[in-house]
Symmetry: C2
Subunit: 370 residues, 2 copies
């Protein structure tokens, strides 16, 4: 089944690029900035994975924020990532203001190693930066046939229940679990109704946002994505007030803040800085790897996952829907489609990438028609 998660886009507004070319370009930018080859690979893979999975807001569209962070000195290219505390099944990592992806991968490696040895690996992280999509790390843990869990805090964008203004991040939760039949289960969700990237996409297209996603500075629901983004705020999953569970989305965001930041020593709420500086952003993360084999034979677990998924898909269809989806399925199909047909890059993103290439001094391998 050919599938692309994003809405069909006017081809004149998009550059279509090959996976390998995009990977090589992004890698070359970071290598040119002095990032070690392997670390540059992780950053590139993280960003390009987001684009492959149809999460453009967290893909190469963010390239300049990372390069600016390095150029401004807020992000270190050779951080001294330290294990501050450690036990057989846990660690606390200080990322020394390295790239979030570099610090995150180091933390994931430790979590996986501990889970191999003891069944469970929990790693919490401070002094990191924006780490891209949370799902990337859950997927890295999944490569070891383990259950992967990835959380991060972030700069405030959400008004918690009863509040005006931006106070807490969209603090995502990702969990990946292996299945026998692909795709694996991959939940990767902001704890707000929508991530801020949706506001960017809607305002770019001149579209109104559905009423309920965000509020203006006086707390009124607004359909203007720019108002939500600038002086207003996003709303937590469940929406405004408590009637439809807005306090639950708020609670999940605080849960993420506790595990990623209160527990690690990272900055909390409005103390979280920006990747592009000034100063360290001190973002916090939390990872957990659960070694399935410690609990039951891997094959048995995968069969149980398949049974659960098959059962969920066997439900009679709601008349408004064409299909029942499992988490990670759309992104997986989109990845297959984009590996074959290329990755669409919005013209403004492509232009930004070209400027970054010129600024940093690497070749920009595409012709832009604009």
């Amino acid at each position: 089944m050919e599938f692309d998660k994003s809405e069909p886009v006017p081809p004149e507004d998009y550059l279509i690029v090959k996976y390998d070319d995009l990977m090589n370009f992004v890698k070359s930018v970071f290598i040119k900035l002095g990032v070690p080859d392997q670390d540059a690979f992780y950053v590139a893979e993280n960003l390009v994975t987001a684009d492959l999975r149809g999460i453009e807001s967290h893909g190469v569209a963010r390239l300049k924020r990372y390069t600016d962070g390095i150029i401004n000195g807020a992000v270190k290219i050779n951080p001294n990532i330290k294990v501050v505390k450690e036990g057989p099944s846990y660690a606390l990592i200080d990322g020394d203001s390295g790239l979030g992806q570099v610090v995150g991968i180091r933390a994931v490696d430790i979590a996986v190693k501990k889970a191999k040895e003891t069944g469970i690996g929990v790693v919490t992280v401070r002094m990191s930066n924006h780490y891209g999509i949370a799902g990337y790390y859950a997927l890295k843990i999944l490569e070891h046939d383990m259950i992967g869990f990835s959380l991060t805090n972030a700069r405030p964008l959400v008004a918690h229940t009863g509040a005006l203004g931006k106070w807490i991040g969209t603090n995502p939760i990702s969990l990946a679990a292996p299945t026998k039949t692909p795709p694996p289960f991959v939940l990767d969700m902001a704890t707000s109704i929508v991530p801020i990237g949706k506001m960017e996409v809607y305002s770019r297209k001149g579209k109104k946002a559905p009423l309920g996603w965000g509020i203006d500075k006086e707390g009124k629901l607004t359909d203007d994505p720019m108002v939500i983004r600038k002086e207003g705020a996003l709303l937590p999953l469940g929406g405004l007030g408590e009637l439809f569970g807005g306090h639950k989305g708020y609670g999940l965001a605080v849960m993420v803040e506790i595990l990623t930041a209160a527990l690690s020593g990272a900055a909390m709420l409005r103390d979280v800085g920006q990747t592009q500086g000034p100063g360290p952003s001190n973002v916090g993360h939390f990872f957990m790897a659960i070694n399935v084999e410690a609990f039951m034979p891997l094959e048995e677990f995968k069969e149980r996952m398949d049974y659960m998924i098959k059962t969920l898909k066997s439900a009679p269809l709601h008349p408004d829907f064409k299909r029942i989806w499992i988490h990670g399925e759309k992104s997986w199909l989109t990845t297959q489609h984009r590996m074959k047909h290329g990755i669409p890059i919005y013209k403004k993103t492509a232009q930004m990438m070209k400027e970054v290439a010129e600024q940093v001094g690497v070749e920009f391998p595409w012709e832009l028609p604009w």
Copy 2:
């Protein structure tokens, strides 16, 4: 501040009972049924804690389901609870169809012990029963100044995104974390918009449910709580469809199903049975204890929690709200109020309790005015 979480209730419909009397009564019922004293205490404490915290749907109103389960032989009074798999930081427990509270407390004790020794304790459980409020176990872990995490699956009540009918449980998530200034942070939430108990309360009062909480058998939103409860279904947090994030609530419910059931060998989705039988319900749980001291000095963590809470409360108030609440605060204030002024028991619940007392052969210590 005197506070009661529940709406004011007509006094003629409620019996007001003292905490000690209610505890002793519930305990006496289970002891009479052959449950060991200490186990009976945990069941009583679990149910009465729900009533104290203002979660009547999970309090003594459920007494008869548990006693029926024992009387019908579906729930064992002396289960052979076994550790099936174990490592320094994890365990898999088979509850042998014991009372969910008895199995849950055993699992929590193991999680806490492992967290004391290694920093982290993860315990997943199969062959258990309905365990009451998820928050009870997170609070038990909190007593050790640890971060407590409690999840359970349950009989299906929720239509997942795109489906008709009841397919997955309201699968709650609870996280408790210590603070310096009481109350502690206690998130205790169903992953549906509302728990099924709300439908019971609304239909009892002859009230319509807000449109958006649930659907009828054809998938249409309905405000009839009985339709939602009987032939319809609850909706996941985020509501019907994907526009306001219903797929996220669905994803959280599946996350809980994976950790509590796929990983433990418990029954999944529609295979989960009823506490009152016939046959074992084979409910699954997942607990995690995080020993804060492994990561930073406890006092420092508590101060960080206080700082976070103070910051969240410092936000300018939304005009529709009188106050910004932190999770667990309403329940904590309600507990204080009810410890002082008594616990309201709805007349039907009181009558059921009296019938259970007669059935089992214990004294019912209250006069009913009805």
